[in-house]
């Protein structure tokens, strides 16, 4: 955050320098044109997205550049002055664009974070692979709701056995299928340090686990050549699983 503040201050300083330079070197009607362009860009920056504003800035830089041909008296010193002015004007426009883009990006990030907060408040599941900390905190939140409603949750640990070359590919594939197999609204999934997948199935009994497993194996079988599928799983009731250490307390039901 501190770095960003410093960056914005730096950009503002550069903007002031280019503005001073621009009006120091341009005079007469050229100074008026420059002023109109800069005010125009500032006004447009209020309405356009950062990408649209870039297109406008680019057009201005190119059009002004080509129009210098009609303004020059073809002496070396005059051409040099015009080039100097164009560089300062382009830099000013681009710096206004950068400031506008940074502000808009921050605004967008703020809205995204507000939305994420809202989503978290709903205590719902996710089909993304969660980090350990996220998984634990979400399980904790869900459990407080399910225990109130007297519902029972189940934990499934999935093990993937693969060969050296295909290990990463197999893990990508299995995690992708697992994420599409669980219920988006209710269940959670993570991968632990040992490479096993831990799935938290909300309000699910043994029959529910069977259904998920059936869906999962039906999805992977046509895509894998192995006769014995390289995946096994073990189920635990939530009371048989320690969510702090993410390890089972009792022996589970192997499949």
């Amino acid at each position: 955050m501190y770095k960003q503040h410093r960056l914005i201050s730096l950009i503002l300083t550069f903007l002031l320098m280019t503005l001073v330079g621009l009006f120091r070197y341009s005079s007469g009607y050229l100074a008026q044109i420059d002023l109109i362009i800069i005010i125009g860009v500032i006004i447009l920056s209020l309405f356009l997205s950062w990408r649209q504003l870039f297109l406008v800035a680019l057009m201005i830089i190119l059009v002004v550049g080509f129009s210098l041909i009609f303004l020059t008296d073809q002496t070396f010193s005059n051409q040099f002055d015009l080039i100097q002015e164009h560089v300062l004007l382009s830099a000013t426009i681009l710096l206004i664009w950068v400031i506008s883009a940074v502000v808009k990006q921050r605004e967008k990030r703020y809205f995204e974070q507000a939305l994420r907060l809202k989503t978290l408040e709903k205590f719902q599941g996710t089909t993304e692979l969660l980090t350990e900390a996220e998984f634990k905190s979400r399980v904790h939140l869900i459990q407080s709701g399910t225990s109130r409603r007297q519902e029972h949750n189940t934990v499934v640990i999935v093990n993937v056995h693969s060969k050296t070359f295909t290990k990463n590919a197999m893990h990508h594939y299995i995690s992708d299928v697992l994420q599409h197999t669980i219920r988006e609204e209710y269940d959670l999934i993570m991968r632990n340090h040992a490479g096993h997948y831990i799935i938290f199935l909300q309000n699910a009994n043994k029959a529910g686990v069977e259904k998920v497993a059936e869906r999962f194996f039906a999805a992977i079988r046509p895509h894998l050549n192995e006769i014995d599928l390289p995946v096994t799983y073990t189920c635990y009731g939530e009371e048989d699983f320690d969510f702090d250490t993410l390890t089972p307390i009792k022996v589970g039901d192997d499949r």
Binding site: L58, I61, L62, L68, F76, L82, I83, K163, A169, N225
Partner: protein, 410 residues
Amino acid sequence: MIYLLYVIMAFFWLMLIYYSVLTLAGVYRRLKKVDDQPLALYPSVAVLIPCYNEGVVLKETLEAMSQLNYPGELNIYVLDDQSTDNTKAIAQAFMTTFSFIHYLLVPVTKHKGKSSVLNYGIAVTTSEYFCVFDGDNQPEPNSVMRLVHEAERTKKAGGAVGYVKTFNQSKNLLTRMIGLEFQVFQLLMQSGRYQLFKTGALAGTNMLLKRSVLAEAGGYDPVALAEDAELTVRIAALGYLLPVVHHSRTWEQEPEQLRALIKQRTRWLSGNLYLLEKSLYQFKFWKGRTFVHSMQHILTYLVFIVFLAISNVWFILGLIGYPLPVVGTPLLLIWFLSYVVYTAQIISAMVLESTLTPRNVAVGMIMYFTYAQLFLILLFKSLFQYITSRLRRKTIQWDKTKRYNKGDVQ
């Protein structure tokens, strides 16, 4: 003499205006959002990966391929052109695990190279579409699906062309420049030209084609060194479109050493010179949209180079004090605008790719004076090599781009 100079300057002006308009059109097209609406029916696709000694990169390539997300029938074929490293072992490991990955050993052909390998791959597969990826490519999961979406939704499309990104861009100064050049090339040549003239160009990788269109075009030319550019012209001559899909992305490795880059680009430029020669005596290379491609070749590889040579001679004569006629033209401004247009293209590409960092901007600022000038040296080298081989009635041999391990020391 003075009139020749006026013609040269008029040409440079036109080039500057053309590339400025192309930049704006490219930026406009790239701002369009992706359309991921699913199709009612998905055609079958064969992904062809021509390989020759790809052992150092193939595992990562196939890992990415195994994650391709496509709702229809998709099969991936590793076409091994008699590799001598562990390419076969890696491909077979994937084949024994995944039912949609296949390993095919390509028989020895008369003309060694990518074109012959692809012709073989097409002959032994039966899908409606085929998609080509180089052996070092790591496509994003939705890349093939997006190519198919666009090809199916565009009237008279012969296929579609995706976007190529550089995954080793931050390795060194050279790879950073190549990465930026690729972004610019795709912004201008692909997005801009498609926006203005509806002319997409096959990129050699991350490209999709209808099998029937390739059959109508007569397959890949086994002698062509820039097989993608050559096929593009023949497909355009048949009246088919090749829409550009910048949301379909693949990541590839670029040369990390100057020597490898010179080798690669000499081959590309020789391939383009072969195409230029073809276009000079074949009328079909100038029909309809093909005109844009052929014109681009003539202007870049013939007119531009001749005019540049003359202007360089003019400049040297001026330096040594030879009495030259005075021309009333703002030469300093022309030079400045060339720099502005070139750098504007680079900055635009950075903005669209969200790679606008202080380091990239600094590199972009010096590319006009360094990397861009390399093109001239390479073009003269290729020209010499091409003319020599034509005089000796020899075919230039296919030369594979060097691949690097992630941990290779520079």
